[in-house]
């Protein structure tokens, strides 16, 4: 899958997020998701699930400079990988990356095998465990809304402008400049290279591993792991088939020859006239 240049992205500035949860409300309203008080979208307990496509998690962090308690909010949702593991894992193409870079789920095509959940390195796709005909759920990057040029619902309601929607390359440039010039930020953009790059980018003043980010996912796109295996399969199958056919003929012939030899050896011990007649029968029978 090639990276599409006009890919859109969202830049999340963690230093600006105040944890108001407006984005999660907007997400629920736009996507018609159930509000459930027992499954909060903001706070320490906040978690993604089938009705929370986004969650604003509170992380208490310990800073070495000041003894004061410190906390940060991290908005979670699908990161919309440039080379999505989930989409490459779906065997019925129910997950597809569209031209603007959103990884979109098409429920009609879904079989419900949940392989996408295994494949996603960030454990993003969730499942409707309580429903009779459950579907996979995840942030769609408001693909129907952005198609008409608007920003995703969550981005457009953020009161502190912690979320910013735009072209990925432009946002990256902006972010890079910010982290390089402002000493507050750590000099890293999460999502720039992770698993080959993602469409949601994060900048922060606290190291990402302290904020629950997965920092050990490498920069290699995950679909390449399977691609390296799958691309050889057709050749392996054909080669293996030919090998087996050859082998089958060879061993069959070898068996024939050995049994004939055996028969010949037996025959030597008997009289010549007798052996002639048996050889004939042998040949016929074999």
């Amino acid at each position: 899958m090639k990276v599409i240049l006009i890919a859109k992205a969202v830049l999340v500035d963690i230093t600006k997020c105040i944890g108001c949860g407006s984005c999660s409300v907007a997400c629920k309203l736009w996507n018609d998701l159930e509000f459930d008080d027992s499954r909060p979208t903001v706070g320490v307990e906040a978690q993604l699930n089938d009705v929370n496509w986004t969650a604003v998690q509170r992380h208490d962090v310990q800073s070495k400079d000041s003894p004061q308690a410190l906390w940060r909010f991290v908005k979670q949702q699908c990161l919309h990988c440039l080379e999505p593991a989930c989409a490459s894992a779906c065997f019925s193409k129910a997950l597809q990356r569209n031209d603007s870079g959103a990884v979109v789920y098409y429920p009609d095509l879904c079989v419900g095998c949940r392989y996408c959940m295994i494949a996603c390195p960030f454990n993003i796709p969730k499942y409707e465990w309580k429903k009779t005909f459950p579907l996979v759920t995840k942030c769609q990057m408001c693909s129907t809304k952005t198609a008409s040029g608007e920003a995703p619902a969550c981005v457009s309601v953020c009161p502190t402008m912690a979320l910013k929607y735009g072209e990925r390359s432009a946002l990256l440039k902006e972010a890079r400049q910010l982290v390089n010039t402002n000493h507050l930020y750590i000099k890293e953009i999460y999502g720039e290279y992770e698993v080959g790059g993602t469409s949601w980018l994060y900048i922060s003043d606290v190291p990402f591993e302290q904020l629950g980010f997965k920092t050990d996912v490498g920069t290699k796109p995950l679909p390449s792991y399977t691609h390296n295996f799958l691309k050889y399969t057709p050749f392996l199958a054909i080669g293996w088939g030919m090998f087996l056919t050859g082998l089958s003929f060879y061993t069959k012939r070898r068996n024939k020859i050995t049994s004939q030899k055996q028969a010949d050896d037996d025959n030597k011990e008997t009289t010549s006239r007798k052996s002639e007649s048996t050889e004939e029968t042998n040949n016929e029978n074999l």
Binding site: G112, I118, N123, T233, A237, L247
Partner: protein, 388 residues
Amino acid sequence: MKTFKIFGWKFNITPIRICLLAITAISIVVVLIRMITGFGVITNLNDDWPWGLWISFDVLTGVALAGGGYSTALIVNILHRDRYHPIARGALVSSLLGYLLVMAGLFLDIGQWFNFWRPFISWGYSSVLFEVFWCISIYTTIQVLEFGEIVTEKIGQKFHTILKKTMPVLLIIGVIFPTLHQSSLGSLFLIAVHKMHPFWWSPLLPLFFLMSSFFVGAAMICVESTVASKAFHHKVSLNVLSGLAKISGGMMICYLALKVYDLASRNILPLVINGSLEANFLLAEIIIGVIIPIIIVFSRAGKTRKGLFIYGILASTGVVLNRMNVVFTAMAKNNGGYYLPSIWEFTVSVGLIAAGCLVYCFIVENFNIFGHTSHDQEQHRQSYKISA
């Protein structure tokens, strides 16, 4: 034992079979509830553990244990080791049943089961699961046709010659596809590289899955033939079994060597003895499932029925453990959360096996499975008679 005869078909009823029937009946009810209510009521699956007992045991382990079909086909029909012919049909039947059960298990585990045919139309060819899906479907069809050759001895005889003629082709395709999907089942997990413990995630996963499915085939045949000899008074000659076990033992040695090499090349061999949960599970899997069976096969015990039976049990247990480790132990740290299969998930898994046993008994008692010798062999015998 009571025998019922209905339209020429034999049904034997024994106390054990009544138990099996009861288990099957209960699990059918559970399955119906699952179909009507989804996963929440019946299973303990959750967002942290999207794959549970049904995938790990019924599907992954099921396919591996049913590997006896293709490994025997390879030995008998491709390598033409004719002395193993007497077990070919038995292996085919249990393998076919195994695959049908796997399909049933998969069907239960997919949320949109009415949509199961989608991947035939909407090709997600970049997915390993796509390959697995196609291969298993095709292979099951081929096994049904191969089995058709046996069935048409009894009913629908006019198709028998056609099937018999296509057999050589079927047999070769019937070895290609299992080789592909046995290894693909391992490759399914390649993409989960950052979620699995390095003991089990390896670039060689496909090869490990393939090799273990090959050697467990013979192990299962040792177990099956012991059970079958009790139930059906059919004894496979000791020679055949120990020969088969030796072939599989050889494969196990290769497997073990490759495993050690794999761990060593990724510098994690020392971790094996650090006493962590993962290390202990890995050791259990390797010692019980590979090392002890190798010792048995190549010692004097490998020439006794009892030894071979124990070998079979251990090697199969090892493969079960391995597949469980791949799905559960390897992911435990990453997934967090908690999953213990519910009683109903166990019931369904046991129920599938029970149903399989019942059908197996029926087939063995109604078709010529064990009394079968090859055409070639009969000819050999004839020619020897003449020359003697």
